[in-house]
Amino acid sequence: MNDLMNLEEAGRLIAAGAVCCVAGDEAAMRQLPRGAWIGGSIPYFMAPAGGLVAHDKVFVTTLPDSAQLQYLSADEVDQVVAGGPEHGYSVMIVPAGSRAHSRFAQDASTSADALMKPTVGWVSGVHLSELATTKPVVFDGRTGQAHDDGIVVARVTLPDDRLAMVEITNIFEGDDGDVLRFETGGFEASEVLINGERCNFAEYLQARGNADGKLPLVGDFGGASLNASVRQVDVAGGHVTLYAPVFPGIDYRLARPVADYVATFRQRAGERSSEGLVFSCNCVLNFLYGNFEGQSLGATPTGPVTFGEIGYQLLNQTLVSLRVV
């Protein structure tokens, strides 16, 4: 089940013993009963009727009853992969801006096991009007405790004849212009190599007309286009902050502008099979820049709209889905 529902419905599911991943506004989540669930704060959702902001509803993804739940501290981030089932998948939630968020983003892709043990999930957030005043949290429903750091994770072991597949829908592709490389990885960069020539990154983005950061960087990861979205371009201070880390050795390009965000999303997501869909989430930057509120995306999977998506590693401006086939 993947469904947006009111608190009473969610409470009944939990009380009946369902194992769930839950997304919702923090105040709503605090009203849920204790039980076999993990959750994260976020008031943005994609529902069948379209995108919406809701403070009195939660999005519930049910998992098999055999799923095992865990809370990992920021010092145990390596256990997301190391503790994953040998044959199955993990669903994780981490608070935006936390130490665990940063550590997972920078380290997850280096683990040799990361791609053998599929992990999906999302980064919890807050209403954008509360960014300066409220911390995103994750919930361990077994204790009812909220954490502003660490990771909650659900482990699902699959039968031998089933496989978990992580898929992404990214409407962005790199343009045909400059190739950007970074000598050091991370969420911040001052310098960038543009076609091999060292430049100030903030000045470059401003010159390319992307000082508002609406176009992400698109990295080429073995043919997969993965975004690092631009958080802030500080031309005076000479540096750029990003919502996902950049990595040395990866060729990045600035994304080509998308003429019709919603139509492109509908088309790209519609090309994906929904057979065996378990979980999906979308990015709050897509929600904002694509004006998704009130707009249906057709066959696009529904789910929480998040401050970052996880498909093996931290992703930005991407729809992530997990299917079991």
Binding site: M165, E167, F221, G222, G223, I250, V325
Partner: protein, 71 residues
């Protein structure tokens, strides 16, 4: 379709630019090729990782396995 043996040249080709020629939309495989191409681990270990991945996910990679020897 069975996997080529570890000493087949396709594995080294996959680790040295062949990944870019592989037609796939399997995110995990793309990430794996990207990471192993950038890795300085011994080639035998990288080939072993590749083969382990193909072995585990063989059922959903028939199109990719068919391409291996043609890369």
């Amino acid at each position: 379709m069975s996997l080529p043996p570890p000493n087949h040249p396709c594995w080294k080709r996959l680790l040295s630019g062949g990944g870019a020629r592989l037609k796939t939309d399997q995110l995990a495989l793309q990430l794996l090729c990207s990471r192993l191409e950038r890795s300085d681990a011994p080639v035998e270990r990288r080939i072993s990782e590749l083969m382990a991945f193909f072995t585990r996910f063989e059922r959903i990679l028939p199109r990719e396995i068919a391409q291996l020897v043609t890369l």
